[in-house]
């Protein structure tokens, strides 16, 4: 496949691996932010190719993993309402709420649909005027423009049966939460290429400066990941802490202005509870008052009790880079994809799932 195979070229991979080995003199801990990157590293066997003194820890960039258990309960509550269609990205369905998952309520008869785009949900609302259609709008900055656009469309179409359950999360505040944790061991970040395609690079400069931490915006293919690691290690070895862009084929410094305008038209920044981590100030998007008739929380007057996380799940420590999945005593025993204790074991971007499905090396 053109534009992909170039970034999976075995010879280039080999060259980058050798170069990383050549320049690494000290032990370094790098965190890749995005779950897509985690899977790229594990699925392609890249972790085994790196020098022993480079440790990759896996960040919180898995939207399914960080969506709080209370929000999943809200989605389940909405799905179980009569005459309601709850639409969601496929990934969210298996994640357990406090009592059950969306997949289970679907099996019990709730109308839960898997969609690829929130605009499909708007179409569904047009086609089903006698039903309420709710889109479960999760994700990082990457999915926010399309979710916002669905609200703009619904507003233009004057639909009164469409709303979104917004649970957006933002990368820079999460990075700061991780870096300011007193147990933090992270020397450098691979920032998420897709998020920066939308948001650009500006908001990362203050983070790199304040915490004196190199930050390389990185893509998802093997060559991307290795190039990103090489750029970060080079900075560390030289004692630098800059924001660099490996993903130049998509990311521009100023980001995608049209996408950002759409986000700010519909959303405003709010506090958000991250599953396993807790509340992080200004780390999410909520629907603005101007579009409140499309905010499912207000429309359906959602006031559910705050649900408790499963205490046996150490997902918070994993997403902060303090522990690796296989250091969890429940990994692969009490916690498996078919009966997960927490979200990282379920999501296709979750770190625990990546290790469970792909890793053949118990030392990683």
């Amino acid at each position: 496949m053109k534009y992909l195979s170039e970034f999976r070229d075995p010879e280039l991979v080999h060259e980058y691996v050798q170069e990383i080995h050549r320049i690494t003199t000290k032990p370094w801990t790098l965190m890749e932010i995005c779950g897509g990157q985690t899977h790229g590293l594990v699925k392609n066997g890249i972790l085994e190719m790196l020098p022993k003194n480079i440790t990759m820890v896996h960040g919180p960039g898995c939207p399914v993993c960080v969506t709080s258990i209370s929000v999943i309960d809200e989605a389940i509550y909405l799905a179980e309402l009569p005459n309601t269609i709850l639409c969601s990205f496929g990934d969210m369905l298996r994640v357990p709420g406090s009592k059950k998952s969306l997949l289970e309520v679907k099996a019990e008869g709730a109308d839960v649909r898997i969609l690829y785009s929130p605009l499909e949900a708007v179409k569904l609302a047009q086609e089903n005027p006698d039903k309420q259609v709710v889109f479960f709008a999760v994700g990082f900055e990457t999915t926010a423009p399309a979710n916002a656009l669905s609200v703009v469309h619904a507003s233009k179409l004057k639909l009164n049966n469409y709303s979104i359950l917004a649970s957006h999360v933002l990368v820079p505040p999460a990075m700061e939460a991780i870096l300011s944790d007193e147990q933090n061991k992270i020397d450098a970040f691979l920032a998420a290429g897709h998020v920066c395609t939308i948001m650009g690079m500006e908001e990362y400069y203050p983070v790199a400066e304040k915490y004196k931490t190199p930050l390389v915006i990185t893509g998802f293919e093997p060559v991307d990941l290795l190039q990103g690691i090489l750029m970060a290690v080079k900075q560390l070895e030289k004692g630098e802490y800059k924001v660099e862009n490996q993903y130049v084929r998509y990311v521009q410094r100023e980001g995608n202005k049209m996408a950002m305008d759409t986000i700010y038209e519909v959303f405003e920044v709010s506090d958000r509870i991250w599953r396993g981590i807790g509340s992080i100030p200004n780390s999410g998007y909520e629907v603005k008052d101007a579009y409140k008739q499309f905010n499912a929380r207000l429309k359906f007057n959602l006031h559910l009790p705050v649900a408790e996380e499963n205490k046996e799940c150490i997902s918070g420590d994993i997403m902060k880079g303090l522990k690796k999945p296989k250091q969890c005593p429940n990994f692969g025993t009490k916690c498996k994809p078919e009966h997960p204790l927490g979200a990282p074991m379920v999501s296709s971007e979750g770190a625990c799932a990546a290790y469970y499905h792909y890793s053949n090396n118990d030392s990683l």
Partner: protein
């Protein structure tokens, strides 16, 4: 193969009393009788079915294989075939994987009230064509109708019997270290074709399902290579990964495959990338996995490449001593990873 199916003409639909199937068509009364008389029996006619008895009576010689499967696909009509073809080919292929030449099939319909006669006729023609291509007879059947909303258009069950090839010795306990793993064609074609038609996911492609019968090629291979073919399985639901995991679990040997050797159509690969699906887990309908003695692997591959149904066949890996009970994939870039069973359905990802 898909080209052959597409070219086959559909018999003209006879005049039915109704445009849609009603509860009465499953009552066993006059409507059932008329439906069968004016359509089904005529289309699928053969000496055994023509007797219209409660069951078929026949003689089989030698060791016999027996298999059953149910078909519940949506949409029921898709590029490259329909549920009727799947229902015949699926059971014919299951028997072929046992080393048997399918001979007789039963055919059970569960039809949802309101199903159109036009679609039913298309499905029946699919069954007729697939039966003719495979060289088998439908010898007994059943039709039930359920209320609207209690089914999804049409469900089909087929069971089949066939005589096992005298040279066949297919059993997982015959697999040894060093045996080669062969896949008979491009991966993930059927699953991705179906997915491209599902509501909310429609995308334009010219992909067609790979549904086809495999009995002729399997029998030809058994004639030539006999007991050197140690294991056969069609990687339908759950795809190649599930078949290999199953056999790894049964034999406690390691199964090592190489990503760069896996045959896959570029369009299918692109669709998998876009949807976030792993082709190793996507369903196939006209494909088989063979585990064969190392010494005949190349010769068998050459023979397979000459048949249009298996022209994309490839040796994708081998059986190893290490990694007992596991399937290991060597990635394109040289790393290795485990290929596990899939948990539940493969769900599209968020971003």
């Amino acid at each position: 193969m898909s080209e052959i199916i597409k070219m086959e003409l559909q018999c003209p639909m006879p005049q039915f009393d109704f445009d849609v199937i009603t509860m009465g068509h499953g009552s066993g009364g006059l409507l059932t009788h008329r439906l069968l008389e004016s359509g089904v029996f005529d289309l699928l006619k053969n000496d055994l079915l023509n007797q219209q008895h409660d069951g078929a009576v026949f003689e089989l010689l030698g060791k016999t294989a027996f298999s059953t499967d149910s078909y519940v696909i949506s949409p029921i009509i898709f590029p490259g075939g329909n549920i009727g073809e799947l229902a015949v080919n699926g059971t014919v292929n299951d028997l072929a994987m046992c080393g048997a030449a399918a001979k007789y099939l039963s055919l059970g319909f569960i039809i949802e009230e309101g199903f159109t006669m036009q679609e039913f006729w298309t499905v029946l023609n699919g069954i007729k064509n697939a039966a003719e291509n495979a060289g088998i007879k439908i010898v007994t059947g059943d039709t039930k109708v359920v209320e609207k909303g209690k089914g999804d258009k049409i469900f089909i069950n087929t069971s089949g019997v066939g005589t096992v090839h005298p040279k066949a010795a297919i059993h997982h306990n015959r697999i040894e270290v060093g045996d080669k793993i062969i896949i008979s064609g491009n991966l993930a074609q059927h699953g991705i074709t179906i997915m491209s038609m599902r509501k909310g996911l429609e995308f334009e492609t010219d992909m067609v399902s790979d549904t086809t019968n495999l009995n002729h090629i399997i029998l030809q291979l058994l004639d030539r290579f006999g007991e050197n073919i140690k294991f056969l399985r069609d990687p339908t639901r759950g795809g190649l990964a599930s078949v290999l995991n199953e056999v790894a679990g049964l034999t406690k040997l390691g199964y090592r495959i190489e990503q760069k050797l896996l045959p896959i159509d570029e369009q299918v690969e692109g669709a998998c990338e876009m949807l976030g699906l792993d082709p190793l887990y996507v369903a196939n309908e006209g494909l088989f996995v063979a585990i064969v003695k190392n010494s005949i692997a190349n010769e068998m591959l050459e023979l397979m490449k000459q048949d249009s149904k298996t022209s994309n066949a490839a040796i994708i890996g081998e059986v190893t001593n290490d990694n007992s009970g596991k399937v290991i994939l060597k990635s394109n870039i040289g790393g290795t990873r485990v290929v596990n069973y899939l948990t539940g359905e493969q769900l599209p990802r968020i971003c």
